[in-house]
Amino acid sequence: MNEVLSGAAKLSSSFLAIIVFFALILVVFFIGSRFRGRLQSPAALVIFLGPAVILLLIGLVVPAIRTTAGSFQNAAGTEFIGAANYLWIFENKVPVLVNTLLWLVIAPLASTALGLTLALLLDRMRRESVAKSLIFMPMAISFVGAGIIWGLIYEYRDPSKAQVGLLSQLAMWVGIDDPPNWILWSPFNNYLLMAIMIWIQVGFAMVVLSAAIKAIPGDVVEAAELDGATGWKLFSRVTIPMIRATLIVVLVTIMIAVLKIFDIVRVMTNGNFGTQVVANEMYAQAFVQFDVGRGSALAVVLFVAVVPLIIYNVVQLRKERSIR
């Protein structure tokens, strides 16, 4: 009874909040519309840009500055300790950086290549949409859910016992009598984790690339075919150059997702067995061991690594837009 009441109270108070908010906005706009002449354009600027700038400041700029400042402080954030946190990263956490780099190179390339292959194979196939939907479906599964599903696939049991994990059973069927404990199988366990990421991202790459392929004007392909281009030549000389910009956007988008990869590693290994990546290490330092300094330093490293990719992505998108 109480819960229902408090639920209703919450609902009505949030309605009230929305109404008050709209009233406020209307007042601001009304005041804005009063400005005439010289003041009109600066007033419009403030009213239109203001909310976005304030939100950006609160949500992005201030935290970024605070994190950067925190990365030069000690665990409790009470003392300035110079670059010690960064030195600690480069002294102790090189394997973590290497793993993240491996992820960054392999997972996006594999996802994009697989996605492109599937897009080409499925193009104009019968029931194309059904096949595509099935391949796209993992995209709808959260990383955590995917981690749990794949955890069952990689599950290890003694070869003399009934197997639980699909991968071990498959290995035994093809004649590998003593399959390894996959998750412990360093360094290959890293690739097994990447497989999950690829499984999720292939659908995204396929759908976007397939749309780009379909957008290639028919007369271009026809002209190339008239000139005698077929198969591989048609693909490498016509298709690829025509979808180059999309390919790069897909690649970079997946790269950014991979840099932040956290959920899969956390669920599958928690960074144990030589599979740690920067984002999970950052979480562990900041929120499990409460070392805000080291956590912040790792966050900054991640941020610095993502920035060039984002800039590149934006530049590419702009170029593409100006061509069209």
Partner: protein
Amino acid sequence: MTALKRRRGAALIASGAAAMMLLAACGGDSSSETTAEETAAETAAETAAETAAEGDGAVAAGCEAYAAYAGSEGTSVSIFTSILPPEQQKFEEAWAEFESCTGIDIVYEGSDQFEAQLPTRIAGGNAPDIAFIPQPGLLAKLVEGGGPVPAPESVVANVDSYWNPAWKSYGTVGDTFYAAPLGSNMKSFVWYSPKKFAEWGFEVPTTWEDMFAISDAMVDAGVKPWCGGIESGGATGWAATDWLEQIMLRMYGGETYDKWVSNELKFNSPEVTAAMDTLASWMKNPDYVNGGFGNVQTIATTAFQDAGGPILAGECGMLQQASFYGNFWVNFNPDATVAPDGDAYAFYLPAMNDDVAQPVVGGGEFVAAFANRPEVAAVQTFLASPEFATAKVKLGTWVSANSGVPLDAYVPGSIDQLSAQYLTDLSGTFRFDASDLMPAAVGAGAEWTEMTAWFAEDKSTKDVLDAIQAAWPAS
């Protein structure tokens, strides 16, 4: 003109949406404030009514036991805790009589964000009267920030007479005693299947040597005597730290254990190395583990929740785990019974060294107060009394280390009763879970990951201990 209008409209919607998100974020706060105000108003009304009803302060019939707490009629004490329903109802039921007899209204507030909210509330001048602190480390941190008030004499008296002295030290920061223990749990258990033991013809061991004689006999009979799992998501490795703690306490006793916790005894010292070697001959012994799962390495990838499963099937003999593991057996088999003659039960992990009397590793929460009003002291004293603990125990699934609680208040043959039997021994060697007491960088960091690597990658004992010691924050 129309274009301009349309643009204005779009901007209106966009900025509206953005600010709505902000408001939604703030909305939660304002609604919870309302509830707090309502509660306050409600309490005030009740208080007025009660004050009117109370007469000259004579003790009402049936309230004789609460005479010592009288004198605070019409007051209210707020309690903030991480303990949520359905446990909340049991607490409220256990002190209902106290409330009606003393006229003190206890306002219970549980939150799953307790550890994050408590410091904020203290800093904001909105501290609760009493908080149930889940571990000593947090108490020390709070005292450092100047929140808790020292426990009144009456609480000290209760703790002195009913608890093992170690408990008092965990409620003490510096030289001041702040917090009396409340609930507790027992980690020094070995789970086994009484039915399988009877079938195999084994008796429950009472000495460390017996336990390993049985282990060897199981090996001869073709059964892996031990199973274990330390996988626990973001906390993978904690179960292994518990094993090391059991051995540390059993080999060296309480004082050395305390030095280990404070790093006076280094993590890579010969003493800890010897304890690790003992652990290696037990849980890293390929003849002994990992029953039902495979080789030693599988300990690192087996979830601690799953580790006991093979015991019911007779594929594994024993599992070292805490008292709470009693709730897990129904996950393996819905019909599994937890009883001295059932499918699963526990025995006390035996002592190793005659000089260390009945070593027990455990945990529990503590009652800290943030106000020294008489009614707060009355509630604190009552919570530390055997009367409260007995009433709470009788409501089930709760253990108190208060030795004033008669053992027959527990369900006969239950794990709770068995836990209480060891926890209430005033001459036993009780110690708190060490990894909970160590700095988070060690107890929730390096010790977890390094112990996991010790099992998973067979990282050398020396490298593991050096790495844990290196992670100890310089202070």
